[in-house]
Symmetry: C2
């Protein structure tokens, strides 16, 4: 195995994680790597959590602000949340311990479009970044950094932080070297120029990250795996959702609105996304591209089979099997996968130019097509908006998908009025559930409602929704978006009280 | 006066408005020019309305779908609405007769981001465009068209419509010739390229509109003024709102986040916008730019005084006094004003690159910063979202403004939960009322609520909002965005029932 730290200056700065963590002091703003459980620092956050715990035991308060790319893992978010070590967290998270504290009101969480994080940092909207803690796969002879399994906001963190701690993780495949494209052409207004990316496979930057060596206060060596979520095969509801969406895409190709190579695909993570990807292979598609955030196992298979010609993302989030498959065919995959900073993977300019097909999950949608991606019953955060807004607003198509019910059929994902809005009626074109698909393009609100109720609602809830809509059309304050405000959120209120959205006796 | 129709082929096609309107048949999709009461066709829509009225009298149904740039005037929207001649209308409207029919449920209205209209037409999402009716200021020797006082979607209408009717309006100043920049570099994905606009004054296109002469079935000569809304001086509430916003901008300059030439300004229309513009002059600013949708009288004065170095827009909507001022100083103004297609004036790529300061009005905001720009009590449409979403999502700053109360103090513009969401918490940075300004950047939902209640709410409603927030923090289903769903929309319900958001006895 080759030495991962090939520059002497950085070799001189190697210390233990405990030693490195000492640089982090209460009240600091610390920016860390990590996106979808890939490429996050594994040692320093845990060492920091131990220090916080000691402080807690001594009756001292030790809390920091933590910025990342997106979700991380128990070693970072979980460890720091469990010792109450964070006062602020942004942008996306999916950790149970973090979620619990946000919803208990003891941890402030800023849910923000992923494309906004880097620029808002540059604008100074989050204040000064004291320290960056960034995992890399290696340090080159020239002192530049081989990025890890995710890029996220690392370019910004390395540039904006006062001081830098690097974790060099030898577990990361050496073959990552060369798979990244770090764009250094960004600027602050009024000095911005067009981003010269016109195809998903365009290389517009450099393979490695730059860092000012004077800022690097510590280098920590690790050999630890990424979160490594296992890849679960799609369930029946996901397969039906995928089936409806694939029928729709085939219809669009037939109508001549799309060619048989479609347009660059953006796909959220999870069961439904995996089912859609699998369906593309079964549908006979070849030579497609992905311009998305995360590459998971399912996409490797599509690349292997030629369904995908290539994939651009910001995170490479594989299961142990996926890692093995990648390592066994490195030469093949490394020519067909590009990892970029998330400000480029999620950039409105690029997404709109490429005309991405945006496919994302949702918690619920209302009959008019407003989508809630983040909140249970309007108050309790689940994960966050992630990049769904970047892609839905700017894509060629915006698709939102969910099983039609949850909690054993007690909760409908189609409701009279969503309890929180992340994507407005102006930004949603297609809704899909296991029941069917509603194509909302070119429809007014009441026309939309008819489609959503008829095609997406579960039969147990369809008559209830139809009844609400009919009465709202009759008695609402206006007939453009008819609502009965005294009743619009009653389904959620009932769910809070009884665990069931259905009226008593109606289930 | 010079001949406005300088190409013989077009001169041969001159007919009366009545004759031209005969080409429009029931069920057709008709795309018309017009943006903020400027540059809309004045004769053919009225002739069409007369035909519809005849059909109505004969017991026949005659309704068409009408697409425009944005709002028009009584001669178009009003005339067609009054005879029930429209079955569908998009995108933005502000006509009382149209609004009445939308809210009665007899006219379907699609409220859509202004930047989406052209591309969704090209994507085929609105079906075929049968006829375009476009006002121009003249026809050149080479058959190209001198655009009128607004550009809107005219490029797209002329290209996408099967047939074209032109209205050549000699009332429009001849000096408009040369003030337009029509970009012909757009394409459909996957063939899109970067839009080469990096400063508000960049010219990237041609001064005139192209049209295929074979599609032009009629040319109608008119001599009729634009809607010509009178310019009303700002009221006290508007002046206070402007004062708070100008203090904030000065603070940002002082902190070094903005230079003293700020960044390109986008400003909605109306009283508050005018007050802000007037305040910029009083604040000693010089050499600013505007990258916006509409140029109104107030902006002419700023250009005249050197406060604005130049302004880019898609519509030139002046009062009679404004027109006189423009005509008297044509050479000066025509070098400092550019009119573009709205797909460029509102393009996310360009707005984000330039880093616009987006300043728009709102109907209401909730304590968490979600903004309703369009609906009264969730159901009744006012006008539409217009370009506010294009600018708020992509600008450097997104500011929403409103007086803190309406209806003589009975209705609060700050509410527990908005009754409709056009701009989500993810897209709103600054809220301003006559009471003060809430800077929401870098704040979590509960931190935001404290700012909004303290700084933006009217004193009559502040204790009620504080009480709601306190109880929601205590009893809500989650503490991330605490709400009491049984009560969240009760203020609107009370307003519907009593005309007053305040509880009985509380006012």
């Amino acid at each position: 195995m080759q030495e991962r730290i090939r520059h002497p200056l950085f070799r001189d700065r190697v210390v233990s994680a405990d030693e490195a963590a000492k640089a982090i002091r209460p009240g600091m703003t610390v920016a860390m790597s990590g996106f979808t459980g890939a490429g996050y620092p594994k040692a320093v956050p845990q060492a920091l959590a131990a220090r916080v715990e000691q402080a807690n035991a001594a009756g001292e308060r030790f809390r920091i602000k933590v910025l990342t790319g997106a979700s991380t893992a128990p070693e970072l978010d979980g460890a720091l949340a469990k010792v109450e070590g964070m006062e602020l967290r942004l942008p996306y998270q999916s950790d149970p311990a973090v979620r619990e504290r946000i919803n208990a009101g003891t941890l402030d969480y800023i849910d923000i479009h992923l494309s906004h994080v880097a620029q808002h940092t540059w604008f100074g909207f989050f204040g000064k970044i004291d320290i960056a803690v960034v995992e890399v796969a290696g340090i080159r002879d020239d002192g530049s950094l081989v990025p890890s399994s995710s890029v996220g906001n690392n370019k910004t963190w390395l540039e904006q932080a006062d001081k830098v701690i690097l974790e060099v993780n030898r577990w990361q495949p050496e073959a990552l070297d060369g798979m990244h494209d770090i764009y250094y052409g960004t600027a602050l207004p009024p000095n911005r120029r067009p981003i010269p990316l016109v195809q998903p496979d365009d290389r517009i930057g450099e393979p490695s990250l730059r860092v000012d060596p004077d800022k690097v206060i510590a280098v920590v060596e690790t050999d630890a795996p990424d979160r490594n979520s296992a890849f679960s095969p799609p369930d029946e509801a996901s397969k039906r959702i995928a089936g409806h969406l694939l029928d729709f895409l085939a219809h669009e190709v037939k109508r001549g609105r799309l060619t048989d190579t479609l347009l660059p695909l953006q796909s959220g993570v999870g069961n439904i996304a995996n089912a859609v990807l699998a369906g593309l292979a079964d549908g006979g598609y070849r030579g497609l591209t992905a311009y998305t955030e995360v590459i998971q196992d399912g996409m490797l298979k599509l690349i292997r089979d030629g369904v995908l010609r290539m994939a651009s993302a910001t995170s490479f989030s594989l299961s142990p099997d996926g890692i093995a498959e990648f390592n066994a065919n490195v030469d093949f995959y490394s020519k067909r996968i590009l990892l970029r900073p998330q400000e480029i993977s999620n950039h409105p300019e690029v997404i709109r130019r490429l005309g991405c097909i945006a496919m994302n999950g949702m918690i619920e949608a209302d009959i008019y097509g407003n989508v809630n991606s983040t909140h249970i019953a309007g108050s309790r955060i689940m994960n966050g908006i992630g990049g769904s807004g970047d892609f839905a607003r700017n894509g060629y198509l915006s698709v939102f998908m969910s099983p039609s019910t949850a909690k054993g059929g007690k909760v409908s994902s189609i409701v009279p009025m969503v309890s929180h809005v992340d994507h407005t009626e102006h930004d949603t074109m297609v809704l899909v559930t296991d029941q069917g698909l509603a194509d909302l393009r070119g429809l007014s609100p009441t026309q939309r409602a008819k489609q959503v109720v008829a095609h997406c609602a579960h039969p147990d809830f369809r008559p209830l929704l139809q009844d609400y809509f009919d009465r709202a059309c009759r008695d609402g304050y206006g007939r453009h978006t008819p609502h009965l405000l005294g009743e619009a959120l009653s389904w959620h209120q009932r769910m809070i009280e009884t665990g069931d959205m259905r009226p008593a006796g109606g289930g």
